[in-house]
């Protein structure tokens, strides 16, 4: 493998940014170990690696949020120390965060002003925002409050904020994980225009296909070290994944669906109303999931997924008991425990805080949902030996990397905790499993294991409902796919009869239903 810190001819312009031997140590882990990286002007450079490989740490150091313990940074050939994000912005480094650093109750203009060091008067800034957003095809209304915006629009706010500073280097951390395919395609156009104008783009993503389409060079990190460089256009998604993992990738095979069994979950005329102005109300949602099949519900976050999960799990009780029928029993008025007793298991989207209690050990976390269906409690007292044994069964059965059943849930990596939570639910032999975002932020190896477990569960006769924003995942898993948009659910289609593009259009709101009040439909076309 060629050394990554290539030498460049002395008369050529210096690279935009060069990292030499960057090292960052956290208590108990070496996050970056002598990382070298060279970014040229005008290139779109991918930074690849599994969760915990050190990508986020590295870009945070470039952006001045963290500081390296050792190593040097050369900005356009000159040695530089980035003291803080404001210093990075002064150099011309912009960053779009994975979790947007936006403020819900402030307007677009106010949000952007916060990220600029010379914002100037608000009305002038609003004019500049309009100008830039038109030039790059990023439609934005400067006066709106951020909580009104779709996820794609929120990202545009972040990007416009960076563009207003004429960045020379734009760092994008998982930018498309929350976008519809059409929105992502639009983003790529913008990025290509930017790169053509000479801006360097450092692009972090798990989605290897889009890296192949977008990036001209890639640097691969594993366990904090640079383990390779590649031209993604010459690689396959599989070879890139294996470079990241350092091992062979096994993708789950989906055996043909057997005869669909009885309806295990039936949802009829499910509507919700909420006091929370940030919530999306469900509007007359209807579907059923039968034994042996996996139904996928696609949709961009914020279109009612959280509300649907809460209504199905029993976290929110429904006035209409018949709106949710589990195994033939009306359950809309029942709480989570009663629904679990009927055969429901569920894996919420947030691992820490909903799926598991961060401060509790794995065996205690196993007990929390396991007690309804496993004999872990006797006469009101916890049977700790059984809880321990149950946790250890999960850890072994699902290859969870953890320091035994005593490990605190928060000490596990995202992928391992998710394997543990899904294992906890599946081992209870549920008749119906509802999963939200099963592999969000989970690396390729763990994702494959989780997908296999879900498919095996369905083939054993259980009904599985997967709510996800990740279309690739839904196309791997689902027998049928529906789309949730603005609280409405589209009719389902067999997966083999539809395409990513069609589902993408539905995710943007092209339902064939009358336009919604704020005209979102035109936006998606």
């Amino acid at each position: 493998m060629p050394s990554h810190a290539e030498t460049y001819p002395p008369d050529a312009p210096p690279p935009r940014l060069e990292l030499r031997g960057i090292t960052k140590r956290f208590p108990g882990c070496l996050a970056n170990d002598h990382v070298d990286l060279v970014l040229q002007p005008g290139e779109i450079h991918a930074l690849l690696g599994e969760n915990g490989a050190g990508k986020s740490t590295l870009v945070k150091m470039i952006y001045g949020v963290l500081h390296p313990d050792a190593g040097t940074m050369l900005w356009q050939g000159a040695e530089t120390v980035v003291p803080d994000p404001a210093g990075a912005r002064r150099l011309g480094i912009g960053m779009v965060f994975q979790h947007f650093s936006l403020f819900d109750t402030l307007t677009v203009t106010e949000n952007i002003a916060l990220g600029l060091d010379n914002a100037g008067p608000m009305d002038q800034l609003a004019g500049r925002i309009r100008e830039v957003s038109e030039r790059y095809g990023l439609a934005l209304d400067p006066g709106r409050h951020v909580f009104h915006l779709s996820v794609g629009e929120r990202q545009r706010v972040e990007i416009v904020r960076c563009l207003l500073q004429d960045p020379k280097l734009l760092i994008m951390d998982e930018p498309t994980s929350v976008l519809t395919p059409q929105e992502a395609a639009k983003l790529f156009e913008t990025l290509r225009v930017l790169a053509a104008e000479g801006c360097t783009i450092l692009y972090i993503s798990h989605k290897l296909e889009e890296i192949r389409a977008l990036c001209s060079r890639a640097t691969v990190l594993r366990a904090g070290k640079v383990v390779g460089a590649a031209d993604p256009r010459q690689e396959t998604a599989r070879s890139l994944a294996e470079m990241m993992m350092g091992a062979e990738l096994s993708t789950p095979e989906r055996p043909p669906q057997g005869v669909a069994g009885v309806a295990r979950l039936t949802v009829r005329h499910l509507s919700t109303t909420s006091d929370n102005p940030f919530a999306t109300n469900l509007k007359d949602v209807n579907f059923e999931v039968r034994g042996g099949e996996i139904l996928g519900i696609a949709g961009v976050a914020g279109n009612g997924q959280a509300e649907l999960m809460a209504a199905l799990s029993g976290e929110v009780l429904l006035a209409d008991a018949d709106a949710v029928v589990i195994e033939g029993t009306s359950a809309g008025h029942l709480g989570p425990r009663a629904r679990r007793t009927l055969g429901l298991a569920f894996v919420p989207e947030e691992r820490l805080g909903r799926g598991a209690v961060p401060e509790l050990s794995l065996s205690e976390n196993a007990l929390l949902s396991g007690y309804a269906r496993e004999p872990l409690v006797r006469g009101g007292m916890v049977h700790f030996a059984r809880a321990r044994a149950y946790a250890e069964t999960i850890i072994r059965g699902f290859n969870v990397v953890a320091h035994g059943h005593r490990a605190e849930a928060r000490s596990l990596s995202g992928g391992n905790l998710q394997k543990f939570i899904i294992g906890r639910e599946i081992l209870q032999k549920p008749k119906l499993l509802v999963v939200g975002q099963p592999t969000w932020g989970v690396d390729a190896g763990a994702a494959a294991a989780i997908h296999k477990a879900l498919i095996d569960l369905a083939r054993s006769g259980a009904a599985v409902l997967v709510i996800s924003q990740d279309l690739d995942e839904l196309f791997v898993l689902s027998d049928r796919i529906s789309v949730l948009f603005h609280g409405r659910l589209s009719d389902s289609r067999p997966t083999h009869e539809t395409t990513v593009e069609r589902i993408g259009l539905l995710m943007g709101g092209l339902f064939g239903t009358p336009p919604d009040e704020d005209g979102e439909i035109t936006r998606a076309v």
């Binding site: 001045g64 949020v65 803080d84 994000p85 404001a86 912005r89 965060f97 947007f100 650093s101 936006l102 403020f103 819900d104 109750t105 402030l106 106010e110 002003a113 916060l114 990220g115 914002a119 006091d275 929370n276 102005p277 940030f278």
Partner: protein, 309 residues
Amino acid sequence: MSDLALIGPILAAMFAAATPLLFAALGELVVEKSGVLNLGVEGMMLVGAVCGFAVTVQTGSPVTGFLVAAFAGAATASLFAVLTLFLLANQVATGLALTLFGVGLSALIGQGFVGIPLEGLPKLHIPGLTDLPVVGQALFGQDIMVYLAVAAVPLVHLFLYRSRAGLVLRAVGENHTAAHALGYKVLRIRFFAVLFGGAMAGLGGAFLSMDYTPMWAENMTSGRGWIALALVVFATWKPVRAMLGAWLFGGVTILQLHVQGLGIDVPSQLLSMLPYLATVLVLVLISRDVARIRLNAPACLGKLFHPDA
């Protein structure tokens, strides 16, 4: 008509009664907008009250008295700030402790000052205007601190909603992680917000002891710090609404005094409860509008922040 003649003095007294609340509430509003919940307002008011009083008695200068009161309030608040912001102590518990601490400390400092009378501040007199019937006394016959408190309302509003510093402060209260990621010094901003809140509470307390009832008595704020805290929520974190709330509370306080004076046969304890009851009632009515509270409440209110994340 004696009733009509009463309205002028009642109005005038209402503005005065509202002033300590207005100072304290405006200060706490800024503190909460930055994401910090300081329940120690009562304690800071008491410390301000006793320090301002003591210094005025010693020096004879009310200006020095008010300055020292503001400084004392801020110093008390800095204790809270160090504990909660830098040592990550729980804000609710620390705030409650601060109130208890303020009650004790002010009683200790005030031991030698009980029973000493003070003159109070001179009232404005503009010939013609102040003599207007009904509103003359209320609008043009107050002392400087009453006007200062009212003037602080648009100032705080402009600061919060028109200035860049105010925008940053609101951003810190809304989402401290994001503000930190953008490079804002969350803890420093909160520290200064808490100091401002303490200074304003100190001024409010000193207004009580140096002007409204110019004397020192233990616990003389009698719960006004708590009312100020309630007013901030009542006002859904908007300065102008906080002023309206303070006037309402002040108005009911004065009204019930007059009703007591008229000798109506209602137990005086019941009447004394009225201002608090009225505040609670309005709070409950306002709180029914969940949407408005969600939109204006700082999302990070009371949450601890640690920059290494």
